[in-house]
């Protein structure tokens, strides 16, 4: 059971690294959606034809 701390640290690093990346992707998506919302508000109906489904 010696060095189990290192093992735990290794696993923690991997999971938190992957989660951080997912979190980054999510925040990019949020940013994009906010931009889309601004665009829809500003442009009004004429631009609202093909961006109804932004994911």
């Amino acid at each position: 059971m010696k060095n189990i701390g290192y093992l735990a640290a290794g696993y923690m690093v991997v999971w938190s690294g992957l989660l951080l990346y997912l979190w980054r992707l999510l925040s990019i998506q949020n940013g994009l959606q906010r931009r889309l919302a601004v665009l829809e508000e500003g442009a009004g109906p004429q631009a609202g034809d093909n961006e109804d489904d932004p994911e």
């Binding site: 059971m1 290794g10 690093v13 991997v14 690294g17 992707l25 990019i28 665009l39 631009a47 932004p54």
Partner: protein, 225 residues
């Protein structure tokens, strides 16, 4: 909604694979005799390294496609692959360090494999810096494609240089060979499958975000007129 289904399926498969792998590694695979329990980092470390390398290879292929076809899609695929490959390589370097501390008694040595991986990390980090530094989209795509091709062509030379450096230099740290038991092999394969499925999911997410961003940009340009 229909296009969400395959990715949903893949995600559940991936989560199941990860759960199974972790269970298998922590509870079924025996503890390695010489190195003790830290050796279990290897089951994450090695598959991540291989998967990361696969993604760099994919970036190379996508970049060639881009230069051949000039289709923006391939640029997005290449950039996403590099990003994911780099994420995995970063984790490989960190987990390697964490393993090396108790086993080799140092966080870092200039062992050939470490050095080569580090250079790889530098090459692809530089690729991402280049992406940030060019504004024009077409220009960026071409430049990045060229760099991804050059970088990947360099990979075998990097590994070769690191290896033969060692053959002439005295070996400071010898990589201990691990007697692979069948169970250890299974654990490696399980994590391999888990990381490849995760990589595929990340690639899908990253590319669809970039495609979404491209659409948004062209909409914003329309709005600006």
């Amino acid at each position: 909604m229909s296009r969400i289904r395959p990715i949903g399926l893949l995600s559940s498969v991936s989560i199941a694979l990860f759960a199974l792998s972790i269970y298998y590694v922590l509870l079924v695979v025996p503890v390695e005799r010489e190195m003790g329990i830290v050796q279990k980092i290897f089951y994450l470390h090695v598959p991540m390294a291989i998967t990361g390398f696969i993604f760099f290879f994919l970036a190379f292929l996508f970049s060639i496609f881009y230069l051949k076809r000039q289709n923006r899609k391939w640029d997005i695929f290449a950039a996403s692959s590099v990003e994911i490959g780099l994420l995995l390589t970063t984790l490989v370097l960190i987990t390697g360090s964490i393993w090396a501390r108790p086993i080799w008694n140092t966080w870092w040595t200039w062992d050939p494999r470490l050095t080569a991986t580090f250079i790889l990390w530098l090459i692809y980090s530089a690729y991402l810096i280049l992406r940030l530094s060019v504004d024009n989209e077409g220009k960026r795509a071409v430049f990045c494609a060229v760099m991804a091709i050059v970088g990947f062509v360099d990979v075998p030379i990097v590994f070769l240089s690191a290896r033969i450096w060692r053959s002439i230099h005295p070996v400071v740290v010898k990589t201990r060979s691990i007697a692979i038991e069948p169970k250890m092999g299974i654990a490696l394969l399980l994590f391999m499958a888990a990381f490849i499925s995760l990589g595929a999911i990340l690639l899908w997410l990253r590319t669809s975000l970039s495609i979404f961003e491209g659409k948004l940009l062209s909409l914003e340009k329309q709005g600006g007129n």
